[in-house]
């Protein structure tokens, strides 16, 4: 009972401090809001956030293949209506035609560069965000079974979102092309074994048929995650506002955990903690009250920011129970990490230094995924490094939830967070009890 009284008193004090309220709610929302409007949203468009198209310089060195010397004909790829492939004599030209399609006009503005050096120079001069270099054997590699090739991307290191979008688009196309290649290879082999050799036009028709059926729901396997309302969550990996708000939420939740736990030191310095010890109140009740206050404050902060993000910024955090699990992990980690840090400090002056330094560094490291915007393929090392700090574990759970991961996929990360929290709490509680025994 007394622990609750102490917790309620602490929470009342926290929410009466304007600085704390601004820090807990104002700054995360302000930062997210700034990005929200900076990235061009804020209008009535509920489809998402229209962004300025990324300038792409493309160099087509593809020498084509005799199989495609007659052009692609009047083929049409589903979802890419309006793409004229009739004159395309190489897969490089197909790629360019797709990137120039009206469907991608909002995302990409394509400029054909004469050579690789010019394209790279445009990126260096920040006239383009990305340069795409299609190799000479691109078509050959897609048609001949044993041939391999590499599509090169050269990107402005200062940009994250635009290059990530281009990378994602190209990855998707290459996956489709690779699928077509495998299909073609298997089909040709089967037909040859059956004594029915296939000419170039027929091979092309088979490949195009594969590409045409790629987007047909009746013939492909789909993975669709649903929110409790039945809305498809889809792939949220590139929801930049979600990623930014998630990062801010975690960054500032850890500050809240530390600042709320610091009330133990503040009370010690102001004489109210020693006075509490002169009342018939046990040390366990006093510390318990402090921990409850930290947890409840964090629950309030995290819940509010998640709800605000969903309702105002339209951020799909993922399935309800996945988000709850991720949020619970965050609350536990932020609270116990705060208690652990405070138990190492002698006074609030040390607290200012530690919170300013340690929390900022570990926070930045933990939410590094926010800065790479989900581009994990080239940042696996950073992804692993981020797990060295508790913020990284919280970010991983939330990212998974935003990516539409199931409860089962998040559980191991929650388990890790629980384990870390247990360790932080054990050490923190032990040290504080020893100190005030």
């Amino acid at each position: 009972m007394k622990a609750w009284d102490i917790a309620l008193k602490d929470i009342t004090q926290s929410f009466r401090t304007m600085f704390a309220v601004v820090f807990m709610f104002g700054i995360p929302l302000l930062v997210t809001g700034m990005f929200y409007f900076m990235l061009g949203s804020g209008g009535d468009d509920d489809e998402g956030m229209p962004m300025a198209p990324t300038q792409v310089q493309i160099v087509n060195q593809d020498s084509g293949s005799p199989l495609l010397s007659q052009g692609m004909g009047a083929q049409e790829i589903p979802g890419m209506e309006g793409v004229d492939l009739s004159a395309a004599q190489s897969m490089g030209e197909v790629l360019i035609a797709i990137l120039q399609s009206p469907a991608l006009a909002d995302l990409v503005t394509l400029t054909i560069a004469p050579d690789e050096a010019t394209a790279r120079a445009a990126v260096d001069a920040q006239q383009a965000g990305v340069a795409v270099i299609i190799p000479a054997n691109f078509t050959t590699a897609l048609i001949e079974p044993d041939a391999k090739t590499t599509l090169s991307l050269y990107q402005d290191p200062a940009l994250t979102i635009g290059p990530a979008i281009v990378r994602a688009l190209l990855s998707q196309m290459i996956e489709n092309f690779s699928g077509a290649k495998i299909t073609l290879s298997v089909t040709l082999e089967q037909l040859n074994q059956a004594g029915q050799p296939v000419d170039g036009a027929a091979a092309q028709a088979i490949a195009m048929h594969y590409l045409q059926t790629m987007d047909d729901d009746a013939t492909t396997l789909n993975l669709v995650a649903h929110t409790p309302g039945g809305e498809a969550a889809g792939n949220q990996a590139f929801n930049p506002i979600g990623m930014i708000m998630g990062g801010m939420l975690i960054f500032f939740a850890f500050f809240t955990g530390a600042a709320t736990s610091e009330s133990i030191l503040r009370e010690d310095e102001r004489g109210t903690l020693p006075r509490l010890f002169t009342t018939p109140t046990r040390v366990a009740s006093i510390l318990g009250g402090k921990f409850i206050a930290v947890a409840l404050t964090l629950v309030g902060q995290v819940s509010f920011l998640l709800l605000f993000g969903r309702l105002v910024f339209g951020i799909p955090w993922g399935a309800l129970f996945s988000v709850i699990l991720a949020a619970l992990g965050l609350v536990l980690l932020a609270g116990t990490f705060g208690v652990f840090l405070v138990s190492l400090l002698k006074n609030t002056r040390q607290g200012s230094v530690v919170f300013g330094g340690v929390m900022t560094i570990t926070g930045m490291l933990g939410i590094i995924k926010m800065f790479t915007m989900g581009v994990t393929s080239s940042n696996r090392a950073l992804d692993i490094v981020s797990l060295l700090v508790p913020q990284g574990w919280a970010m991983r759970s939330l990212s998974l939830s935003m990516d539409g991961a199931s409860l089962g996929e998040i559980l191991p990360w929650f388990g890790g967070a629980l384990l870390l929290s247990g360790l932080f709490f054990f050490i923190g509680n032990l040290r504080l009890k020893q100190r005030f025994a």
């Binding site: 007394k2 009284d5 009342t12 401090t17 004489g271 006075r275 509490l276 010890f277 002169t278 009342t279």
Partner: protein, 313 residues
């Protein structure tokens, strides 16, 4: 109620090599005001910290209303009201919120808590400011609230650690009056101070501490008796007059005369009887008495007598 409120037995407390309290014993009777008097650093706060279970003694024990601080600290805390030296309040809560919170810590709940908060607000004169944030209160108001918290659960024993430090004379007077009133209502008060006048005015018994030890203890009269029943006269003359000093030395009732740099100090049995004789002795010498200061024996003199230092040194 036991007749002995506090029994301090061979109490020791050291911080590293520093002996803050060095084997003290004393007893506080129920219903009295007992003062611990001593300069800063004498060990008063350490002593009451051990009595109120904030510090654990290295040696010895304290029995508070029969409960040992070593064996049953929760029972000790339940019958104590402690007023700390520093103001220990939540500045971002109102006076009423502060009292309500602390009342809960003293295990008051519901209607009883509300009633006691109302009563204490009246006693400390903050009923009309009960909703005001403590951070905006004056120093005197904070001091009164600081005391009020210790009264919430109607403790049998109130410990006050220098409650008048750093406040204006009016608030100080008000606090001293409230201590006397509490005592009249039956509370036992253990009061620490380094102001001799406060100890003298309030206390039934006084213990003088210095360097962690009790150097004297008793009623005011008993302590003064230590330095003998003599008054001290500090006198200055308009000119040097050795013959006057010699005459004074021979005057009945004068025990001792010393002269340093024109300031003459006399120890006399009774200043009321001796002073006219001193004036008579000066009358025919051509010099005048330019100042006379009469000092009756007090605790300052006792401390000076026992330690060779002034209490405020």
């Amino acid at each position: 109620m036991p007749t002995t409120a506090i029994e301090v037995q061979n109490l020791h407390k050291s911080f590293g090599a520093v002996k803050a309290v060095d084997g003290i014993d004393f007893t506080v009777q129920a219903g009295e005001i007992f003062s611990l008097l001593g300069p800063n650093g004498a060990g008063k706060t350490t002593t009451i910290s051990m009595i109120s279970c904030l510090l654990r003694p290295n040696e010895g024990d304290v029995l508070v209303l029969g409960h040992s601080v070593r064996k049953d600290p929760q029972a000790v805390k339940a019958c104590l009201g402690v007023v700390p030296q520093e103001i220990a309040l939540y500045e971002d809560l109102s006076a009423r919120e502060n009292l309500t919170f602390w009342g809960k810590m003293y295990e008051l709940r519901g209607e009883l808590l509300r009633k006691r908060v109302d009563e204490v607000l009246e006693v400390i004169g903050l009923a009309d400011r009960q909703k005001g944030m403590v951070g905006k209160f004056s120093g005197g108001m904070k001091r009164r609230l600081n005391i009020g918290i210790a009264l919430l659960h109607k403790p049998q024993l109130i410990i006050m650690d220098e409650p008048t430090v750093g406040i204006d004379p009016q608030s100080r007077r008000s606090i001293l009056e409230s201590v006397l009133q509490l005592n009249r209502e039956g509370a036992t008060v253990l009061y620490t101070t380094h102001y001799m006048e406060e100890a003298q005015e309030l206390s039934d018994h006084i213990a003088i501490m210095d360097h962690g030890k009790l150097i004297a203890m008793g009623t005011h009269e008993e302590l003064v008796h230590i330095v003998g029943e003599t008054d001290r006269l500090e006198v200055t003359l308009s000119a040097e007059a050795p013959q006057v000093i010699e005459t004074w030395k021979a005057t009945p009732g004068v025990k001792q005369v010393t002269s340093v740099d024109g300031h003459i100090s006399l120890l006399v049995d009774d200043s009321n009887l001796v002073l006219p004789r001193l004036f008579e002795a000066v009358a025919n010498t051509g010099v005048r008495l330019t100042s006379v200061d009469i000092q009756v024996p007090n605790l300052e003199a006792v401390f000076l007598h026992l330690t060779g230092r002034a209490l405020r040194d």
